[in-house]
């Protein structure tokens, strides 16, 4: 079956006074039906921009510089704005990081959900209200009647995120992008939220893209993982093989940075800093941080190659190593 979302060769650029910032550099990414895909990277790696690009919500001075985005076979970049708008929220929905600020502070939360029912499904006011309460119950909010009348600042962080999820799922989207949905929540609440996401995803059959900088979250939740670095997609694999055999030097560094109870060693942060994306040179953007860097890395961007089934990586060094030791 064709993937639900096919991103091909997508580039997003921001024009600034100083030059062009290549926030997303020609990435390819598929999201399959019903799966949970983790999109991982440090902050500034272009994950959120990619998500916004899918919504076609890149605002000036940003622009989509090239590539295509197909959703269920339809080219989103070619759709008229009005049609695109009908897809947003209805077919593709998004859960934002920092739920508190992502809710309108001057509208009661119930109204914020209800208006989506009315907008996308043409429900009557009463029907929208009924469904809102139902949805609030579904995401585990106690006393939905009362909470629906509350404003964002009256709810706890976890509650807000549940509201956000209720909003995102209200119209049964087929694709849900969740951008750092657990930022700022304490550990137990975060776990509940993630469980909730997974359950609801399963129940509705929606595909979920979980955007996070935390590989640990990905490990417990996702089917597949895509790793981004400085706007480039460096590795994409099913979750088990990625953790067992991280191929890209960056992925390896990321995996090492996960705090683990079963290891005595303390967590190592990824060495180096995210490079400036302003008029970035061609080639791999990890080159300056990479322990295995080759000369070619700095001049030509490595293509993605399949390393195993469902495991692709874009790295000359890895490729070279694999060729040298074919057993992998």
């Amino acid at each position: 079956m064709r993937p639900l979302l096919e991103v091909e060769n997508l580039s997003v650029a921001f024009d600034t006074d100083e030059g062009t910032v290549g926030a997303v550099d020609a990435i390819d990414l598929d999201v399959r039906r019903g799966e949970i895909l983790g999109l991982v990277g440090e902050s500034g790696s272009g994950k959120s921009v990619t998500a916004l690009a899918v919504f076609r919500l890149i605002r000036p001075p940003g622009r989509i510089a090239g590539g295509s985005i197909r959703f269920d076979g339809r080219d989103l970049l070619a759709l008229p704005e009005e049609e695109m708008r009908r897809i947003r929220g209805a077919q593709i929905a998004m859960v934002f990081q920092s739920p508190r600020t992502a809710l309108n502070p001057v509208l009661p939360v119930g109204r914020q959900i209800a208006r989506l029912y009315r907008l996308h499904q043409g429900c009557s006011a009463a029907e929208a209200r009924r469904r809102t309460l139902e949805m609030l119950g579904l995401v585990g909010i106690p006393e939905p009647e009362r909470r629906a009348r509350d404003y964002a600042h009256q709810l706890s962080g976890g509650m807000c995120q549940r509201v956000m999820i209720a909003m995102a799922l209200a119209t049964s989207p087929r694709l849900l992008l969740a951008d750092e949905p657990t930022t700022g929540l304490d550990v137990s609440i975060a776990a509940q939220i993630l469980d909730l996401l997974r359950d609801l995803g399963r129940r509705t059959g929606a595909s979920i893209v979980l955007i996070t900088h935390d590989l640990g979250v990905v490990a417990g939740l996702c089917d597949r993982v895509a790793v981004m670095h400085a706007g480039q997609l460096v590795e994409c694999a099913d979750v088990r093989s990625l953790f067992r055999e991280p191929a890209h030097p960056y992925t390896r560094a990321l995996v090492r940075s996960i705090p683990r109870v079963d290891r005595e060693v303390t967590m190592e942060p990824v060495p180096g800093v995210v490079p400036s994306l302003l008029d970035a040179p061609p080639g791999c953007r990890y080159a300056d941080r990479c322990p295995d860097v080759l000369d070619v890395c700095r001049t030509v961007k490595p293509a993605r190659s399949a390393r195993a089934r469902d495991h692709e990586v874009a790295c000359y060094a890895t490729e070279a190593a694999r060729v040298a030791a074919p057993r992998g």
Binding site: P60, R85, R88, L103, P105, M167
Partner: protein, 338 residues
């Protein structure tokens, strides 16, 4: 912090400020040159006559005693007596406050009715023609002396084009004032259905309120634009876009609604500018308000009205800022946490 405590704290904080204000206004008149007793006594008065006047006016007492007399007088609503009109300052004030209020409200209405949409459009169509135009208008509006704009307007619209009435106060000659309900002629005329007075009042109000409104519009536009830009970049607006809400709903519903709350704080700022502008605009348009009264008194060195005016404006300004703070606290509960 609870709402009650918040209100109490804010109100208590105002008291020392008000005390300071009376000290300053007292000091101002104490220093004012020109012996008020002499003004009252007239040019042919004898020294004894002047001394008698001084005694009557308490000018021969020690400064703290004079201050105490002043303060207790003010608390009783006694602002002294004007030498030019021979009436208690309070009475003169009450007669003129509606004129100033009408002009101030109309100007604020214009500043807000034009300034807010302009700021919104400038933010939404950032770097578009409206944005540039509003910025130019903004810097221009702030850079022109208000009296100069007013005179220019009189020259153009009254003298040359003849579309504005003569700058002669609140009603054209021959039009009777409407029955006094609020003292605001336009409102009173509207309420009593007096079309002739309403037309005349609005017509007279047109140039002065446009002049004044134009001069204070810039800060309004500026702040609305900044706030709006900030809001348009905010997460919940992004969320709204991502939820597929139509543009209209997002910009004029979600964003504007949030934008208007901080705009409340502008009322205080704008009022401050308006009070300053009032003084000169009332002169230019012979508007019979308290600013005009103050300047006339200034020219005759009539101390009591000047003192009363400065005090009055300061107290109103303090109270408006207090009200703005309180309203803001009520409207936006987040503020009370600070």
């Amino acid at each position: 912090m609870g709402l009650g405590r918040y209100v109490a704290t804010r109100v208590l904080l105002v008291l020392p400020t008000l005390f300071g204000v009376t000290l300053i206004t007292f000091a101002l008149t104490y220093l004012l040159p020109g012996n008020p007793a002499l003004v009252k006594a007239g040019p042919l008065a004898t020294p004894e006559h002047i001394r008698e006047m001084e005694r009557q006016m308490g000018l021969d007492r020690p400064v703290p005693v004079q201050y105490w007399r002043y303060l207790s007088g003010v608390l009783r609503g006694d602002f002294g007596e004007s030498a030019t009109t021979g009436r208690p300052v309070l009475q003169d004030f009450l007669q003129r406050v509606p004129a100033t209020l009408e002009l101030t409200l109309a100007s604020m209405l214009i500043a807000i009715a034009v300034g807010i949409p302009l700021g919104v459009v400038a933010a939404v169509r950032r770097d578009g023609p409206v944005d540039h135009a509003s910025r130019l208008l903004g810097v221009g509006g702030v850079a022109m002396p208000t009296f100069w704009t007013g005179l220019l307007a009189v020259y153009l619209f009254f003298y040359h084009l003849g579309v504005a009435p003569p700058p002669l106060g609140r009603l054209s000659p021959g039009v009777m004032a409407p029955t006094a309900l609020t003292g605001l002629y336009a409102v009173d005329a509207l309420l009593t259905g007096n079309a002739r007075a309403l037309g005349s009042a609005l017509h007279q109000l047109m140039l002065p309120s446009l002049t004044l409104g134009f001069s204070v519009m810039a800060p309004v536009t500026r702040m609305v634009r900044a706030t709006m830009l900030e809001i348009l970049e905010s997460d919940y607006i992004k969320a709204a876009w991502a939820a597929g809400l139509p543009r209209r709903t997002i910009v004029y519903g979600d964003a504007l609604r949030n934008c208007l709350i901080p705009v409340i704080t502008l009322v205080g700022v704008v009022f401050g500018f308006l009070m300053a502008g009032n003084v000169v605009v009332e002169i230019v348009f012979a508007w019979p308000g308290i600013g005009n009264y103050a300047v006339t008194s200034l020219l005759t060195k009539d101390a009591a009205p000047i003192q009363g005016f400065v005090l009055f404006v300061a107290v109103v300004y303090v109270l408006i800022n207090l009200t703005v703070d309180l309203v803001y606290g009520v409207v936006d509960p987040r503020i009370r946490l600070r």
